[in-house]
Symmetry: C2
Subunit: 243 residues, 2 copies
DNA sequence: CGAGGCCTTGACCCAGCTCAAATAAGGTGG
DNA sequence: CCACCTTATTTGAGCTGGGTCAAGGCCTCG
């Protein structure tokens, strides 16, 4: 919860440009974004905004991880999503919503760019290429949510974890891979819609099933294909089921 | 599966205009949409397109119900969504996706408008007001999905059904209400992420819990407030948890 | 070295799933 | 309008994945 913000200004334009979302934006606009946008390093635990709170910024994660959450009436926390490099959030503000339906907390030290909402809205209006890009991104994200819903009903806990690990592998080749769980297991559990205890046990089952080697947050996957065969067995979409 | 299509042409403009999505569109564009758009009556069971099939149209439901579905590898059908008046689908095509990630089947006799994708894309590019409207709609839909995910993990089966009934009530007043389940219970079950058997039993439990009167597809709700208190007890958002 | 935060284990429980069957609800042809 | 067939819904019985509660481990940091 300790706030240890370092307010810095970096050459955002290059960063923004590097993401497909901003591919069609003219230089002067990027520059304008760059003038109003703020990049900050934020420490794990920092709360960017609370649920049901007014907010007028759109955020982009430059590095690290940010989790979006809601509070159940019962006081429990439901995790909506956990974001990283190049992902954005707070765009619900573009729909004119005053209060954020979810809160945002830094799950792992992160660098976060915030842009006043009106700037983005203006640019959407002015630059149709950008508008279409955002629109397409949202379309895909919605689809991603559909998949997520399906996963939660169709896959077992170990399969869901396996599917998650596969996403972490990105476009990597077949064969053996070593990877680090990027954030707390309890957060992963919530992200995958299960209890921490279940996560722990499910990971054990998955290990037995596909011969993982697990040391704390480090996981060795001897055979990706085998993992995907196990995890995606129940799913409706072919293997790389990411966007 | 019998196809009993009646291809008709109705004054679409008025219809389109009546939905907020098209509020900002200029008359000539509406007219152009009207020229290329086709409205058809389709019978229950008609399949509009299959999953993983190329498609170049965006659809709007004018009346009736359409269900979007995927096929699990196991051959089971997972329902993505069930749409009605004024809802649109197929917009994923705007993201350049060639193959539809889901299929569409008429769940209850419906009138459906289809518009060539390029027309919509053009209009998004040309008319920023329209573009923003679509963008906002998608944003809200994505949020809706988030809620859906939360519901499925936090609510019990009876609560989920209750929540669904509340959505059917729309902006109706408090007190007693009678309503008709708009489509097959088995489809509702799938839509809510449960088995038909579970649905049946859960509905019975809900009846006992909040004194519903059930006759086939007709349901009498004596006290909406009571229903919402029961259903939304576990949810993170206040009562009218729809868009 | 002790405190607190994570994570893992153990024991037990229950909502929802599965398989199987009985009943309603429509629809059709005579 | 009736008998018959098909599809939708309900019920019964039993099983189990995942949740809950309660203890330990473990590791980090002061």
């Amino acid at each position: 919860m300790t706030v240890h913000e370092i307010s810095i200004r970096k050459p955002l334009p290059a960063f923004l440009r590097s993401y497909p979302l901003f591919a069609g934006i003219k230089d002067d606009v990027i520059a304008s974004f760059g003038n109003y946008a703020v990049a900050k390093f934020e420490r794990k635990g920092t709360i960017l905004f609370l649920p049901d709170t007014p907010n007028d910024k759109v955020y982009i994660v430059r590095s690290g991880w940010v989790k979006l959450f809601r509070e159940t009436l019962g006081g429990e926390e439901a995790i909506v999503d956990v974001l990283t490099n190049g992902n954005f959030f707070g765009e619900i503000g573009l729909a004119g919503t005053e209060l954020m339906p979810y809160g945002a907390e830094v799950a792992e030290d992160a660098e976060i760019i915030s842009i006043p909402r009106f700037l983005v809205a203006d640019e959407v209006m002015r630059n149709s290429v950008f508008g279409l890009a955002v629109l397409q991104s949202l379309t895909r994200q919605k689809l991603q949510r559909d998949l997520e819903i399906e996963h939660r009903t169709v896959q077992s806990a170990p399969q869901r974890i396996g599917c998650f690990l596969l996403k972490l592998c990105r476009e990597n080749q077949k064969g053996s891979i070593t990877l680090h769980l990027p954030y707390d297991k309890s957060v992963m559990a919530a992200r995958l819609g299960m209890q921490p205890e279940t996560f722990s046990r499910a990971l054990t089952r998955l290990r037995e099933e596909v011969d993982l080697t697990i040391q704390g947050a480090t996981i060795q996957i001897p055979d990706i294909t085998r993992l995907s065969e196990f995890s995606c067995a129940a799913c409706s979409s072919k293997f790389p089921c990411r966007d």
